[in-house]
């Protein structure tokens, strides 16, 4: 046996530098200098969420003294404030005019306009969004695995199997479209980093939930004899009951260049009137009577996303605008117009869904009762926002 000679390895030499906080006293060495000082927090003390999101997206009305440096072909640049008809105070004030010898003209009284007042009440950033979504995925996985081990799917009636394969399956498409083509799409459009990050996180919920439903569908295909894993496509593409919902969902993606209307139409109108109507008032209510305790746990995760998080940020965002110190009336008028446009479409789509209420063996509450519940919830949301329920709601 031979030994190998150790050659000296080249490694960096650690050096004691004493470069830790408090090692010396000099201007800016005190504790008060150890906070981000370029924005005003919403409350007395700035939050971790604010520290990692506020001002990451620049604004020429704040500190962006050289202005945006790339423009679109039509001359628009950065994150134009007119990419929605909604307005926040200060937006009609002219941008600082800068040129030779003008100086930087940084904002003197932060913020320069009301859009910057928005904070996501869920305080989402990377740490929170991965923890939350990973927990949801783990919980769903465990629920379904437990049901599989207990042969829980064998308790389902044939009619319920058909219902889940077609209609619970069809819902995945709505979530997917909203995730990618509403919320992800709009994360390029909002006026501040707080808006766009909230939209990106909302998008994550939707895309994740769509995939949860798809993979649940795959599990059922593997576990239940005769479960048709492709039936959701047939329902989505051809069932008359689904075409109204599909039409509204697609129309929301086609809103003409207004991220505010897309978000409002989706989270304030569609979700309470159609999303919760289907998820909570039909599926969640029907499943237990039909021997299914699993589907509600999958559906419930998506429902929690909306009811506790996605609606929350949207209300905070829109609520600031309906109470805006300069444009409250303007914004309410715009939103009322959007309500008049989207509510009838959603109600019409809801009525097209009505036949689904009679399909399970164990019936859920009556469709009209379910719809009334959804309408009441919707009216409450509008009331919180200071908006009037549109006359179409009583139809």
């Amino acid at each position: 046996m031979t030994t190998t000679e150790n050659t000296a390895r080249s490694v960096p030499k650690p050096t004691f530098t004493d470069a830790e906080a408090g090692a010396k006293e000099f201007p800016d060495s005190g504790p008060s200098a150890r906070r981000y000082n370029y924005f005003k927090p919403a409350k007395r003390k700035q939050t971790h969420y604010e520290d990692v999101t506020v001002e990451v997206q620049p604004d020429p009305r704040h500190y962006l003294t050289q202005g945006w440096i790339y423009g679109f072909a039509d001359g628009s640049r950065g994150y134009p404030l007119n990419w929605t008809k909604l307005k926040a105070w200060g937006v009609d004030d002219p941008e600082p005019e800068r040129g030779p010898g003008s100086g930087g003209k940084p904002v003197q009284d932060w913020p320069a306009h009301g859009w910057h007042e928005f904070r996501d009440p869920n305080e989402e950033w990377e740490l929170t969004m991965f923890r939350y979504n990973a927990n949801v995925e783990r919980q769903i996985g465990q629920n379904v695995e437990n049901a599989r081990n207990n042969k829980a799917f064998q308790q389902w009636t044939q009619n319920w199997v058909r219902f889940v394969e077609r209609h619970v399956g069809a819902w995945m498409h709505i979530e997917h479209i909203f995730g990618l083509y509403i919320f992800a799409a709009c994360n390029r459009s909002g006026p501040t980093n707080m808006h766009n990050t909230a939209m990106a996180v909302n998008s994550e919920h939707k895309i994740r939930f769509a995939q949860d439903l798809a993979l649940y569908n795959l599990t059922l295909t593997e576990e239940i004899d005769g479960f048709d894993g492709a039936a959701h496509l047939e329902a989505w593409n051809n069932d008359a009951e689904w075409q109204g919902v599909r039409k509204v969902a697609e129309a929301l993606t086609a809103v003409d260049d207004d991220w505010g209307e897309m978000i409002f139409g989706t989270n304030i109108v569609f979700e309470p009137l159609l999303g919760e109507l289907f998820r909570s008032n039909l599926v969640q209510q029907s499943a237990p009577g039909n021997g299914d305790y699993v589907t509600p746990t999958v559906m419930g995760a998506g429902e929690y996303d909306f009811a506790q998080r996605d609606l929350r940020w949207t209300q905070a965002c829109m609520g600031l605008l309906t109470q805006d110190r300069e444009f409250a009336d303007h914004n309410k008028q715009i939103m009322q117009g959007w309500l008049s446009h989207w509510v009838p479409q959603c109600l019409e789509a809801a009525r097209q869904l009505q036949p689904l209420w009679s399909q399970p063996d164990a019936k859920p509450p009556r469709f009209e009762d379910s719809l009334d519940r959804a309408k009441n919830r919707f009216a409450g949301i509008l009331n919180d926002l200071g908006l009037d329920a549109p006359k179409e709601l009583s139809q």
Partner: protein
């Protein structure tokens, strides 16, 4: 569900692909590229069921290490020379990251292949991660490093500083203009595939050598997401290549994206790695050596060249020229010298070079001392206020450079500077490739072809313009680069924190006024301008006046 294979799960989620039946989504972002519905597969094969827990686990490791760094008091051995440059880097990088998230929906619309949208959506989520995790790292430095100034007003600084504006190309370039040019070619094909190697691998390695193991912890975690993004870019590129009409645009965009990335990333990261380190082991790789390995060999030879057989026209000339700039023309050294010349206009402290540094540079870049050594000796001589001005206003054989209108890095390789009258304004460019970018590529027609979706270069691209005729003290105050005593500058040309050795607004007040080179250029007559160009091209190296002998 847990027993399902990833391939099966991924195949299942393809059933979510949406073909609009009643309404087409609003097309907000245009492109001049055309795509056949080529059957490109989602290269990631990632489903969120496994993605979220994986990312959470990565987070747990990063935050665990952060906690450990504080408990173990990493900052007792962090090199200040290194961490000061992080005040610049970490002020820039969260915006490019979040911009990459914002750019993904531009691709949903431009690339009509729903299968790829899954990968793009995951990239969007990754990028939100990167931006906020980096913003958080900076917060940790602010709280625990000896000198929080520059970290604590980081984003105000970044938005108003000329270096920040240079860095912003690496953000706005992802989200503005033609959707494919921006979000695919510039972002994923060039920035992520080529230059994240130096950004997120080489630089963290240097951080570790300087006692900072948090930067590697965060950035290697970030880099582990980048491979997904590279796959996204590759799939889109192959789709684009399948359409003959795209080849002219691909050639244009690859030239622009390559050259701009070289100008911006090599300037910044080259400086951090070469001038921000205290690790002068002779066998540690120089930036030039890293560049040759990771960008020239791994990207150019291993990634780009094989695409030639699919019809991609590769900018061989610009790639060779970039190497020429780095190796023969001292690009990184010229940039570092300029940063140090203008130390007072920034928000971090720049350490001078020592004899040990000189020796290393001479070993790695033979001839370095003859070019740059004397200037750095002057930098040290003038670093403490002692009745003289800051180096920018002293006679040290350095001609203050003009700025490149396109990449906004000054025209430092003097012989390459060109001027052109574009949009009614005389502009200087650091190189013909940058002139071409502004005057030819970013235009509504290209080689006789309509390119109505191509973006524009806009904004106040020369920083000095805004402060033409201003006193330096007022400039610094206006930008907010002042410490909490109201007079000491955030920036310093040394690392000594003794208040008596630190420059203040009073020192700046005595200096000559700022003058905008571009304003002056536009006041010249034709003959004056010709003489100016001839003189400028004869200057250098190291910014020496034309005709200087040493």
């Amino acid at each position: 569900m847990s027993r399902q294979s990833l391939a099966k799960a991924h195949q299942k989620i393809q059933e979510l692909s949406w073909e609009p039946q009643y309404h087409e989504p609003y097309m907000k972002y245009g492109t001049d590229y055309t795509f056949r519905k080529a059957a490109k597969k989602d290269p990631l094969k990632q489903v969120l069921r496994s993605y979220f827990p994986m990312q959470e686990e990565k987070d747990n490791r990063v935050y665990g290490a952060s906690d450990g760094a504080i408990r173990g008091n990493m900052f007792r051995q962090v090199q200040e020379r290194w961490l000061e440059w992080q005040k610049l880097f970490l002020s820039i990088i969260p915006l490019p990251e979040i911009s990459a998230a914002r750019s993904m929906p531009m691709l949903f619309q431009a690339v009509p292949n729903p299968e790829l949208h899954n990968g793009q959506a995951i990239q969007m989520i990754d990028e939100v991660r990167h931006s906020t995790i980096q913003q958080n790292l900076k917060r940790l430095y602010m709280n625990n490093y000896i000198d929080p100034a520059g970290f604590n007003n980081t984003l105000r600084n970044f938005h108003s500083d000329y270096c920040g504006t240079i860095g912003r190309q690496f953000a706005e370039g992802f989200i503005t203009g033609d959707a494919i040019t921006a979000a695919s070619i510039y972002l994923t094909i060039v920035a992520e595939t080529a230059f994240t190697n130096t950004l997120f691998v080489a630089m963290p390695g240097e951080a570790a050598a300087n006692g900072d193991y948090l930067l590697p912890t965060v950035f290697h975690s970030v880099q582990s997401d980048e491979s997904r993004h590279i796959s996204n870019g590759y799939a889109t590129l192959l789709m684009a290549l399948s359409d003959e009409d795209n080849r002219q645009l691909l050639e244009r965009d690859l030239r622009y994206a390559w050259w701009n990335n070289h100008r911006v990333v090599d300037a910044a990261i080259g400086t951090f790695i070469e001038y921000g380190t205290k690790d002068r082991r002779k066998d540690r790789e120089s930036y030039a050596e890293m560049w040759r390995r990771w960008i020239y060999d791994d990207y150019y030879r291993a990634y780009l060249l094989p695409l030639e057989k699919y019809g991609l026209v590769i900018p061989h000339d610009l790639i060779e020229e970039s190497w020429n700039q780095i190796w023969n023309k001292g690009y990184v050294h010229e940039v570092a010298q300029f940063f140090a010349t203008g130390w007072l206009a920034n928000y971090w402290r720049i350490d001078g070079m020592t004899d040990e540094d000189f020796e290393w540079f001479e070993y790695k870049y033979p001839g370095w001392y003859d070019r740059y050594g004397k200037w750095w000796e002057n930098y040290n001589r003038l670093s403490r206020p002692n009745g003289h001005h800051a180096i920018v206003a002293e006679d040290v054989d350095y001609v203050y450079p003009h700025r490149c209108w396109t990449c906004m890095v000054p025209c430092l390789v003097r012989e390459d500077m060109v001027v052109d009258k574009v949009d009614g304004q005389w502009r200087t460019y650091c190189h013909e490739a940058c002139r071409w970018t502004d005057a030819v590529a970013f235009r509504p027609t290209y080689e006789g072809r309509d390119t109505p979706n191509m973006g524009k270069l806009v904004g106040h691209r020369e920083w000095e313009t805004l402060y033409h005729g201003w006193n330096w003290a007022d400039v610094i105050q206006d930008m907010g680069f002042v410490r909490d005593d109201g007079k000491t500058l955030t920036a310093q040309p040394h690392l000594d924190l003794d208040p008596k050795k630190m420059w203040t607004l009073d020192h700046m007040r005595r200096m000559p006024h700022v003058a905008s080179p571009n304003v002056i250029l536009n006041e010249m007559s034709d003959s004056e301008r010709e003489a100016f160009v001839a003189d400028y091209n004869a200057q250098g190296p190291a910014g020496r006046p034309a005709g200087a002998t040493s």
